[in-house]
Symmetry: C2
Subunit: 440 residues, 2 copies
Amino acid sequence: MKSRRVVIVGAGFGGLQAAQSLTDSGADVLLIDRNNYHTFVPLLYQVATGQLEPEYIAYPIRTILRRFSFLQNKPNVQFLMAEVEQIDFSAQTVETDRCVIIYDFLVLATGSRTQFLGVPGASEYAFSMRTLEEAIALRNQIFSCFEQAIQESDSSRRQQLLTFTIVGGGPTGVEMAGAFVEMLRGHLRRDYPTLLKQVRLILVQSSDRLLSDLPKKLGAYTCKRLHQLGVEVYLQTRVSLVTSESVHLQNHEVIPTATVIWTAGLEANSPPTSQEVSLAKKGKLLVHPTLQLLEQPNVYAIGDLAYIENNGKALTGVAPEALQQGVAVAGNIQRQFRGKSLKPFSYFNKGRLAIIGCYSGVGKIGAFAFTGCLAWLMWLGVHLAYLPGYRSRLLVLLTWLHTYLLGDRSVRLILSVKYINSQNRQVLPKEKLHFFPESR
Amino acid sequence: MKSRRVVIVGAGFGGLQAAQSLTDSGADVLLIDRNNYHTFVPLLYQVATGQLEPEYIAYPIRTILRRFSFLQNKPNVQFLMAEVEQIDFSAQTVETDRCVIIYDFLVLATGSRTQFLGVPGASEYAFSMRTLEEAIALRNQIFSCFEQAIQESDSSRRQQLLTFTIVGGGPTGVEMAGAFVEMLRGHLRRDYPTLLKQVRLILVQSSDRLLSDLPKKLGAYTCKRLHQLGVEVYLQTRVSLVTSESVHLQNHEVIPTATVIWTAGLEANSPPTSQEVSLAKKGKLLVHPTLQLLEQPNVYAIGDLAYIENNGKALTGVAPEALQQGVAVAGNIQRQFRGKSLKPFSYFNKGRLAIIGCYSGVGKIGAFAFTGCLAWLMWLGVHLAYLPGYRSRLLVLLTWLHTYLLGDRSVRLILSVKYINSQNRQVLPKEKLHFFPESR
């Protein structure tokens, strides 16, 4: 019998689902990731705003795999923690920083990374929020700004420290803005009562509405709601430059701000390959409807890495798409084992939800668009249900209840500067002041 | 009326307690710490072994202070996050990296730091465990060693990765050894079943018994219990050299080990001062029985920083000592306000507990020494009670129940290499191997 070695690169939603769907397939499966944990990316913003412990949304991959193979005598899915350095389609090898692996079938599920859209200074000074480390670094930055601001006697520098600019009006930017307001209304109000009035929260969006993947009226509702919450929303505005102390807009306005949070663009996070592959925009890999690479019948690409259309429209890169593609790719690989013809992938859209925060959200299920507290509750419920591991689910639920019933967040640690990208760190000159108001 | 500005440096057990005891004293109190959180040091080893989330044992100082001044109209205790760079007793100033503060009374409570006892290589290659960051770095190291070992085909290098050497047989070393065994018996057994038999856990102690601050028979029990748990205990053994791949003992034995955990020595973590101060051994400050510095009547030193005797014997540096000194120092400062004579500090020893792990511990209350499960339970109970914040207490309790009832630990993230001290990181040459057993 022909050997069946399936290598999956990336343990995000798509890769993990493919591995799960290949349990009991008879194939030897190897899942590779650079981390030993799966990151639940949709909740990263709650780590950055100090609501959730990082450990709640990052789950050890070995534990997840163990659950898949719970009933198996000899588990067929193995895990390798390694960085993929080169893929050679002719030799059918994946070269990592640790070892070289030969595959029969390959699933590429390496996701996306932040794209700074060529804006000067953005990659050096803006904070992105795609990994757990980046979310922790952003949390450090936010709380450090408040600690610095409370000691700052110069009012314009204090204003700069207390101005937070979010670039990008997609779901991540909107979630981040809403969660920031929740934080301001919660513990920051108590910890820094004198600073609160000075905080400016700015959301910059290039197009003429927020949440452009959703119906126009939901974007309008979101904009109105954020405005009510005190967020300054700049529509049809592009960023032209980011420095360590300001953000420059294309309309020549300069906003002094110590913190720029970049949620504006993503591009495919392709692994290096020895042979050329056909690319769509944003570096995504072109695939057949069966999810095979155009040139390589035994190589598949799924999730944010692949350019896939559904009913003539490109998929938008949300978790349900990757999950369904993980199932589809596992099915097609097993059809290839048996020499059967492959099935084209078709996406079943269960609906879309986006959370604004402060008890409001927006959603669209089928033709039905809705807003407000119902969408907010549904968002929380759906994300709770999809979290891996009952323990994480319980802890996240407890934390949310604690936050929304008592208005407090406990995760406000500023960890050491080693955690913060040194380039991003703004070193202010030492100020000589007498801390106590009265003179000697 | 004379101004009463009290500055407390360090928000450990002693400093926080002094601040709490000065609430409602009428003085303006400023608490300074380099972190914005209080670290519950006795549970750091549970972070390093992946049992507790770092956030559970680190509590925001501003939240703690808010609780102290719950009933006050205008809180008299302020917080400053800053690094102290110089103290000038003549000018009565504390210079930090942020600002200069003038004090009338000063409480030094900056604790202790790891002392490597002049062993070459120890400061570069051994992991210490005195701060939250160090505990996270050690957790990364332990789990990285297992991830590397499972891919390692060379058996001697695999053995090196799976050998963990703890230097120091005090409470921290013993706790760490026991917690490591718990981890091996729990999730590591499931995640890496093939590796488990190869793990070597070594505890090196210079004197002829463990837990030398406790009665001899408790040390003997601890040694026997650790031996039962599979720990190799080396008594009367000193370390002469630590390298990135081994530890050398003074008896010329060389143990190949990728991880050396240093719990062997502490020294006072004194802030730099413009004037000389009288020092005892290990850099501790000499103080009068009233806790005042010998030369400075308005400066106090408490906790691990100060050399204090009780009944002619030096105090050993545990949390209850620092807590009681925090109360005492607040009392004496208030006596100084009123021109009253000061009281000498006297320590009330409620007893001592040390945990071994795996349901056993040792303890001594008054003349009564006891061992086993009762001591273990008491240790957990006491530490739970002293944790700041009911939320942390609840979460730690839930986590312990989860660990001991279900035998699982969820915090096994290997965060990015930025978290690990780069000097400590051992870069192994890339190995070219075929991951799947069968050949093509």
